[in-house]
Symmetry: C2
Subunit: 338 residues, 2 copies
Amino acid sequence: MVRGESKNAPSMADVAARAGVSHQTVSRVVNGSDAVRGDTRDRVLAAIEELGYRRNKSARALVTRRSGRLGLLYSQPHLYGPGTLAASVHQAGQRAGYDIVLSPVPHLDATSAEGAIEALLDDAVEAVLLGVSHQSLEDLVAQITSTVEVVMIHSDPPEGVRSVGIDQRAGAVLATQYLLDLGHRTIAHVAGPVGWIDARQRREGWLAALRDADAQPGPEIFGDWSSRSGYEAGAQIARDPSVTAVFAANDSMALGVIRALHEAGRRVPQDVSVVGFDDVPDAAYLWPPLTTVRQDFASLGELAVEVATKAIADGSVEVPPLLQPELVVRSSAARRSS
Amino acid sequence: MVRGESKNAPSMADVAARAGVSHQTVSRVVNGSDAVRGDTRDRVLAAIEELGYRRNKSARALVTRRSGRLGLLYSQPHLYGPGTLAASVHQAGQRAGYDIVLSPVPHLDATSAEGAIEALLDDAVEAVLLGVSHQSLEDLVAQITSTVEVVMIHSDPPEGVRSVGIDQRAGAVLATQYLLDLGHRTIAHVAGPVGWIDARQRREGWLAALRDADAQPGPEIFGDWSSRSGYEAGAQIARDPSVTAVFAANDSMALGVIRALHEAGRRVPQDVSVVGFDDVPDAAYLWPPLTTVRQDFASLGELAVEVATKAIADGSVEVPPLLQPELVVRSSAARRSS
DNA sequence: CGAGGCGATGTGAACGCTAACATATGACGC
DNA sequence: GCGTCATATGTTAGCGTTCACATCGCCTCG
């Protein structure tokens, strides 16, 4: 920015003076009121253009007592799911006429989440979207729900809370059932960390599918969503020859499992089948291409914004049905050989 | 939010009444002025606590004529690099006392970038950080630079523009030189798409290292950063037996190349060596573990915020030295066999 | 031809805060 | 004991909007 070049930004009054009307008429034009004569409107529009006028959102927010902002809290912003979610919420918000305040929390814990929510509240957001379904947030929600509208993005929401979600449990059932259909009986699970709702739901889906098929749960190892933890889990699983299939709670861990299996000399999928969760863009181009469960983060974000705007409009507490994930069959899982 | 429960949010005047002081004294307390007696301060603080008072940022911004906001434009928000950058900018901004407005642009083109910048300007950001180094933005920059402070995140910035960056060219030289040292003479390059500065710089680094070693450039294929495009490039490369090494412009494409090589029966690294760029968290757990070039996105974000805040404070145009990337040796590249 | 009404525009106040200045209170020196 | 000064606090105005209402023409109709 060149110093001294620009004085104060022009205000409505400046535009009004230039167009020879009152500031209120400018306001009407800017807000699309139809009570302005065509030629007057044109004069105003021309003045706006000439001066490079921009409506001051702070002044507007002050007098209307509405910020026009929605906040999204999300963690692990470097990962595919959260990143996609953030982008889709942002886009849907724009379309709905809201500004989206993105609040990434690199490492989730109760303190940092609380701090992030405080910041969002300081920003006067009209609703908070909770893009991270972790147990530690459920208590927090109760506290802020009297202050601001809240939408949880959650596959197993507490009673009476506004929420949207993807059916994690159903996705896990899809994956496990597929493995069962392939003839596998001992299916290990590399779970996400304790405390994460999605991890719990995926684990329950695995368990439920097994139960329905009268199969015993295979070994279960808890990871932390990272490929490193998947690798460590895989190394352990590789030592157990009875395991012929692994369901990993996300694609990163699945990929770690596959590497560990490779290193142990067990072929995927000939010796051990592996299924992941998420369908990250790279999943299709791993070796072998990863069979996984796809979640539609884009729709999730749109839905969340929709529910939030409705909540702001009429306070309704609406819980649309969970979105259904989809099994994407590639070649990391195959019929049980022996 | 429970309807009817909360009336209007308390203002300074409410706090002042409760504490038995004037609103100005409340303002002083809130802003940490030391011209307030200890016991008065305590009374005010107590009133703030009791009423749950929050300072209204809009009113403050209106009167101070400063929004306290920095905007970050970034694309491909689902990818590791941009996601990490966004998070680190956000964090650094908080620390520096600025609110960060994150503006993800899913698919970059001149129109959407322009729209996003307009939105940022409407939000009255005091500086715009351009987190996407694409040619199409360079013209845009010239237009807005008179309106707002701009910081480009760019490894080869135009003259006189404030910027920070990571030395992409040096990273590519590192990768290529490593391959050369391993005895490879025909090194292919899977480049990023035309128009992306980083892609250009990496390609130039590859070319420069080759030139210095008196080696002829191997085949060159342009991808689009995706693993799919890497796969397609890899399939092509696999047909050329003279190629014994590939330098891919990012990890996703590298992973696609590896799969294509596998499918063609060419082993990595025994037959063909592959080096990527970025060091995404999964890179270390691919099979084989990917040798790649690590960029420090976290430091990049911090640096960008630092330069932006300085620019706002005194208008200085500072271009700190490029950050240096680092070669991470794993096992997807090996000494040339024959 | 004047009352009534409607469409287009203007006026004044208020939103919650900070900046600038004004005032009160007490300590101190002569 | 009174001016002087520093320290603590209060008062007023104004930031750029929108809202509620006032005004001004002009047309319609009995």
